[in-house]
Symmetry: C2
Subunit: 365 residues, 2 copies
DNA sequence: CGATTCAACTAAACCGCGTTACCATCAGCG
DNA sequence: CGCTGATGGTAACGCGGTTTAGTTGAATCG
């Protein structure tokens, strides 16, 4: 019984009442003082602030949400199977950037992973009904996507990352008036041009494209952009194969492309995981990079410049992208009008994995 | 003025009052009915539930937190510079596993990234004062870590992932009684044994270790474990070099080890990013893997088996790990006593990157 | 000097839920 | 028939903030 029982004061979070008592004023005065509202003298304000500081007071996010209607948090949902983002660095970087924008505003990020877009819509509905978040950031928009509609109906502010290509897209469904959806889209078409021009300049005329998941808006856009570029430049072949973004399907797609009667001399891979997989398949077949085949990764990450040969990659700063999206969302929450804005064109970083094609192409000669 | 203004009812989240009115009872009755408490008849209960369902009612997380003391959310902080987790798949997998455990319990995950452990402690204090989370999951414990102390003082329940090696560690500082900290630690020592025995069995006697960030508890543990194993087996050399987990420093460490008067014949790399970097440096020097040098990655991920040669790797399922941690935290929140538990020993997956050492070792002639 | 105005502050209501105390109604019982 | 004890329900309060309506006391003004 010699144990020291009271080695610390019972921890209880300080409330406004504590501050009020300590400062000798009412809780209303405390509220006025701490929120920079008129109604208290300067001296009182200072005193209250000092006391609150000393006590380590922080507004209860719950109480504030209850009266002020603001949850002080924004949400982000990832509707991809976990294994499909095994090696992808994009999302972690994106989240990192979102954080950076949110932190100064004391906004928390609520993060959740679900199985599919339906579940995501359900979650939005739940978050809305629970009043858990003030707005959300939507990623991986689909070609036919129920989420904008859902969010619009709920009146939940949102920024859609990589949404509809052009502002005023006639295909975009008409959304309810209370929609508070901003859109920040990457210029996939311009980026594809960048890549194709790079390959074309090296002499490539047959390009294979290991695309992402069918149904994703950016997958569709990239495929369309490649086709358009091919037509414009008069390429012999420009074949896109869809996958699920994993190394397995990336490898499978690469095998399929390599086995075609007229195989491509260059591959564009929609993420770095599949790019590595493609390199691996090439090695398997005894193809040298870039002598026999060139490879471009649509995403730069550590492995792209760690690997040998280093991979030519599209460098888009995911963290800055996320930061801009978060800023947009905050603006939306501040009452700004929804905006459609385009992210700056990414940069193509040529490295060792792209070069001139073989004179005859392999396999067809 | 011909615009249709009222294309949707003004969205307002339904409250208990709405349900009560609709069902023709008081809000208390609704509360009883929906929380499975006695005080209402079965028929009323069913009716209320039906109405609530129809209205899409969900308890306001704020209101519930305010009265019930439970925020319905748990927190996780990452105190690593964003660039140091560029290619690492560990955390995303971990988070994915945490989610899976949390989702059925309708617990949200609040996620934040900060610069250092001090900021992390600040954030814990803030979260606690704001009542934003019910508990937290702590990762990357340090050798001398202020976080357990902070959490203990606040009385904030937490599960520390990869904490103190052995339960009852005499070095562990005495924490206040109200501490509600569980600990779930990976058996780094056992895992290191697994790797060293594998290499020893192949004939290696000089092992280099590209370790993680100095100051991280698991880095220290792995270094100590390697030293112990080396002593036990009578290895010639077992040198650990610390890094910051990035490819850059991984490569630098590899160069340093390769340039030693008596270079190692095998490398153990504390994550897959540095393993790839090491492979790259080896290639740079004209060293063939595994003929001239063997490489083991302390983490399996897509690239480990996509790369050629495929990397021998330690397979520990980060998602299951995260799931267990989350379950522990939930148990803690349910009032269970804190526990110290050890994660099952990971599995070593031998692949192409490990083999017998060169007869004389390279470079030492 | 009494009426008016304003600054400074307080009391009270509210947000949406959980919870406790209380209050009808009715069956069972002596 | 009056008392007891369930049963099924309601009113009221608290959580920790914000906000609105009041209430002072002192300065200003006619």
């Amino acid at each position: 019984m010699s144990e020291i029982e009271s080695d610390a004061p019972p921890p209880r979070r300080p409330t406004m009442k504590d501050v009020a008592r300590e400062a000798g004023v009412s809780t209303s005065a405390v509220s006025f003082a701490l929120n920079n509202r008129p109604g208290v003298s300067d001296s009182t304000r200072r005193r209250v602030i000092r006391v609150a500081d000393r006590l380590g007071w922080r507004p209860s996010s719950a109480a504030r949400a209850l009266s002020g209607e603001s949850a002080g948090a924004i949400g982000m949902v990832l509707a991809r199977p976990a294994d499909s983002l095994g090696g992808e660095s994009f999302f972690l970087q994106l989240v990192s950037g979102i954080q950076a924008s949110l932190a100064p505003r004391d906004q928390a990020l609520v993060f959740q992973m679900v199985d599919d877009v339906q579940a995501e819509c359900e979650l939005y509905r739940r978050w809305w009904a629970e009043g858990r978040v003030d707005g959300v950031i939507v990623v991986d928009p689909r070609v036919s996507d129920p989420r904008p509609e859902t969010l619009a109906v709920l009146g939940l502010p949102a920024v859609i990352i990589g949404g509809m290509e052009a502002p005023g897209n006639p295909d975009a469904p008409q959304l309810p008036r209370q929609a508070r959806l901003s859109n920040i889209w990457a210029d996939d078409s311009g980026a594809m041009d960048l890549i194709v021009r790079h390959l074309y300049g090296l002499g490539h005329r047959r390009i294979g494209h290991i695309a992402g998941t069918p149904g994703y808006a950016h997958t569709a856009r990239r495929i369309a952009s490649l086709r358009a570029a091919a037509r414009r430049l008069g390429l012999e072949h420009a074949v896109s194969v869809t996958t699920d973004f994993t190394d397995r399907q990336g490898a499978k797609a690469a095998r399929r492309l390599f086995s075609a009667p007229v195989p491509p001399t260059a591959l564009i891979c929609d993420n770095e995981v599949m790019a590595v997989a493609a390199v691996s398949v090439a090695a398997e077949r005894g193809l040298l990079i870039p002598r026999d085949v060139s490879v471009v990764s649509w995403e730069d990450s550590v492995i792209c410049h760690t690997l040998h040969p280093q991979l030519t990659a599209l460098v888009r700063k995911a963290d800055e992208f996320g930061g801009r999206a978060a800023s947009q969302l905050l603006a939306l929450l501040d009452g700004d009008a929804p905006r459609q804005l385009q992210d700056p064109l990414p940069r193509l970083q040529p490295r060792e994995s792209t070069g001139a094609p073989p004179a005859q192409g392999f396999g067809s000669g």
